[in-house]
Subunit: 339 residues, 2 copies
DNA sequence: TTGTAGGCGTTATCAA
DNA sequence: TTGATAACGCCTACAA
């Protein structure tokens, strides 16, 4: 393996000079730079980041911890973040973890190893934050979940109002004349997001003079096509006369639509479906999926603005709610409006 | 930051002893182990991987380089690989890179830093391999692209037969009675996969006594919903009387279907569409998308088997073709079969 | 402008 | 069963 030492020996200069040209530091003569770059090229030298990061203590780095590798909303946000950071002199390091892994633990590891100036959490479990977040000493923003009841002086948050969003989605079903509404959502004990959206559902039911009977109306699913499909089958099994379904994510909704069609129901003629997230999927699906669109561009932009506010201007943490948009789509039928 | 030194001081033992219990090496007294584990717990000590990897030269690690973060087929393969590796005592390190980045360069960095015993490439550009792959000294498998014309003695490959798959897809359209067939595919100069699938198309046209007129029938797209949508619009603009389309990926196909519907065409009544890959998307779409299904489970299983064959049994590289399946779906109309 | 030398946190070799 | 100590490859005062 070729190291900086080899380059030094081969080029006739010292290790420090080589290091200087590698890191584009000043104070190097043109001759030295040229010669060293030649040798680097010739020997295909690639610096060892382990050694580099072990030594370096201030890297202009922002870390992003993404929970759930196949979450299309997060993918869109990450892309957006990448685009923004590319214009600055910061470096982005993105680290993906599974749904059930501890993001705070990962954050601590990331901090040890890369010494980032700030951290962005895409998705997160309040429980994990309560447990260990105090040990993360740098500015952080929790994106997609509100952290206002988590009282840390280095943690901001930017999120869509899940309660209001779900409320609005279910309202849309009520407004279209539906009364027998089923819900497909996550485990409200474990997924805080699911819990909030569930609360929104309850509110909407209540506002329409109804009570949400969990046993009857709610079916627990994971956020995937297959789980939406199976969940919908279970739901219609126990609630056969439902006329509308709110699914807590677009993928789930699409799984549900497929299940309905496979059972001979038309969407939206027989059963209406509304989703959540507003990813490209919803727009390209057939029928176009009604959904609650999270503004991923704004989520991305604001998280970074807030993070930089904390890092560079030493601002206090903010907890910001980003408006959602109800997207009509073609998957909800207005009862009584058939001509 | 708490380091192994702090643990040593705090526990009253030496650095080496601490290191031993951290790495579960033998030759440590129960007392020492217990005391040290206590202190580690109390101080929330987390080892620094930079230091660890800098020092260590043999890690039972397999590296996976995934090209294209939002490629659903690759996501499925990675999941499968993860499942398989979890059962062994190897560790997996997955590294995602953009479509246009140099995977071989990344591989070299990965090798320096993690010293993996083997590498899996999900997707790859032959050009990059020709340029620098000689410098990667460990067993590798290129998954999803055949590397039989790349003559390296440490590079195997496992792939679906892209030529045959595309041939088959277009055959399916011809067999259904279509003659005016458009194609949505990648840049055949840059994407080798697209090139191969393009060749398959040409073969099928030829076998049916026709010539593929690129100017007229082929439209260049990226593999995304939006690009499929726009590509379809361009294609129908210059080829308005087409009756069928082969899209080189499922996402492209779905974008195309949406474009067709937005222009008032029914799928499959007016225009038939067939995709490629056979991801969950195709199965849940409306209409169910006809597609060429790549057996991602087999691709995953065989790549690992072959990699382990090279690593542990010092076997010679293999270039293996995995059969595909033509999936009927509901998006292709048989001309003349309307009752 | 360039070079010397010390140290980042860890593992591993060798004595004790 | 333990403990010094020398690396690993790189960066960076500090000296020259």
């Amino acid at each position: 393996m070729v190291t900086i030492k080899d380059i030094a020996r081969e080029s006739g200069y010292s290790i420090s000079t080589v290091s200087r040209v590698l890191n584009h530091k000043g104070d190097v003569s043109g001759d030295a730079r040229k010669k060293i770059e030649e040798v680097v090229e010739q020997f295909h030298f690639v610096p060892n980041n382990n050694a580099k990061h072990l030594k370096q203590n201030n890297s202009k780095t922002i870390g992003v911890l993404v929970k759930g590798i196949s979450n299309m909303l997060f993918a869109s946000i990450v892309e957006e973040i990448q685009r923004i950071i590319a214009k600055t002199d910061y470096t982005l390091v993105v680290s993906y973890l599974d749904e059930d892994e501890d993001e705070v633990e990962q954050a601590i590891v990331l901090c040890r190893e890369r010494k980032p100036l700030g951290l962005l959490f895409l998705g997160g479990t309040p429980e994990y934050f309560k447990k260990e977040f105090a040990r993360v000493g740098i500015p952080c923003v929790l994106v997609t979940n509100l952290a206002d009841q988590l009282d840390f002086d280095n943690l901001s948050s930017v999120a869509t109002d899940d309660v209001e969003g779900a409320h609005c989605a279910v309202d849309a079903l009520f407004d279209a004349g539906h009364r027998k509404i089923g819900i497909l959502g996550g485990n409200i004990q474990k997924s805080y997001t699911s819990y909030l959206r569930f609360c929104g559902c309850k509110e909407s039911f209540f506002a329409h003079g109804m009570e949400l009977d969990v046993e009857h109306c709610y079916e627990k699913i994971h956020f995937s096509f297959g789980s939406g499909y199976r969940g919908m089958n279970r739901l219609i099994g126990k609630f056969p006369d439902l006329t509308a379904v709110f699914a807590m994510s677009d993928v789930t909704a699409i799984g549900a639509v497929r299940a309905l069609r496979d059972r001979g129901y038309q969407v939206p003629q027989d059963v209406s479906v509304i989703g959540f997230d507003g990813t490209a999927l919803a727009e390209y699906y057939n029928p176009k999926l009604a959904t609650v669109r999270q503004q991923y561009e704004t989520l991305a932009t604001r998280s970074i603005e807030i993070l930089f506010g904390q890092i560079e201007l030493k601002k206090q943490p903010i907890h910001e709610v980003i408006p959602f948009e109800l997207v009509g789509g073609e998957s909800v039928r207005v009862i009584g409006a058939d001509e």
